[in-house]
Symmetry: C2
Subunit: 145 residues, 2 copies
DNA sequence: ACGTCATTTCGATAGTTTTCGAATTTATAT
DNA sequence: ATATAAATTCGAAAACTATCGAAATGACGT
């Protein structure tokens, strides 16, 4: 009752690609990566944080601004940023004295892709869509730097 | 400092629809439900379990068969089934002596929909798809029992 | 009623996550 | 150099999650 599967619940982790945290082309996702990404988003503050970064668009947001917006203490936020970062869902860049964080759209695409492929019966779940780095309605009004 | 958001990180949970665990029309998902669903899937065994149920299709699988397939002790599996059930991602039905579990496709659609809507820049992430209860490629080849 | 099979609940243990103040690091301005 | 600002790491407490054997529940056949 198996064999047709690629990965399931067994200890022997296969030597697949795995993590490309520092803003890489995370175009593909395996089960391990999916668990990491899901776990990173499975927390009230972190889901809100990620949503915020997605809304912020390509400009990203500084850590302090995020902490302010979410009403989370600075050190707690840092912890959550690290979690998302470790899962490859966000990227960091220094700008003057601030650290700017951005949502990693390819990584999110890969996660949704994994869910559609593996958890929706091999077909998919939603009507149709096309993803750029958040520009449809939100960042239309901002020029980016 | 905020206000433009619908839900973020504040304690006062809004009186939205929320959980309809026992196989309900979970067509819409809020942030709280999304965190629950993401958390339910953010675990090696549970992700494998859910995948298995998606592949099993509308026929579902008995708890024992699942435990066997995943190589997880019976009582551990029960715990994981309860987690997925609590998140509304699977449903249960008694059949003779066995309990049959099934993936709840509408719930999964709602989760993916939430991610596309809220975490992909308001546009979406994937090219195109259409979701029925897992029949496209997988259950095509199974006869069902 | 009794035995048996299928599953869940209980209870204890080990491990992981979340939280946040205090101390520290990194960068800039004077 | 020294001060100030922006974030991170450290450390320790509280809360949660995962694991699994043993006992309990529920359904069925005889």
């Amino acid at each position: 009752m198996d064999s047709t599967d690629s990965e399931a619940a067994d200890p022997p982790r296969s030597p697949v690609v795995r993590g490309s945290h520092p803003l890489g082309p995370a175009a593909l996702m395996d089960g391990v990566g999916a668990v990491a990404a899901l776990g990173a988003l499975a927390q009230e503050h972190r889901l809100a944080l990620f949503r915020l970064l997605v809304q912020a668009g390509p400009d990203g947001m500084a850590a302090g601004a995020i902490a302010e917006a979410l009403g989370v203490p600075n050190s707690s936020l840092s912890f959550h940023l690290a979690q998302l970062s470790r899962a490859g869902l966000i990227s960091q860049e220094r700008q003057h004295r601030s650290l700017i964080y951005r949502a990693d759209y390819p990584a999110m695409n890969a996660l949704v892709g994994y869910l559609l492929e593996n958890c929706c019966g091999g077909a998919g779940c939603m009507p149709e869509a096309a993803c750029g780095p958040a520009d449809a309605a939100l960042s239309r009004q901002r020029k980016s730097a």
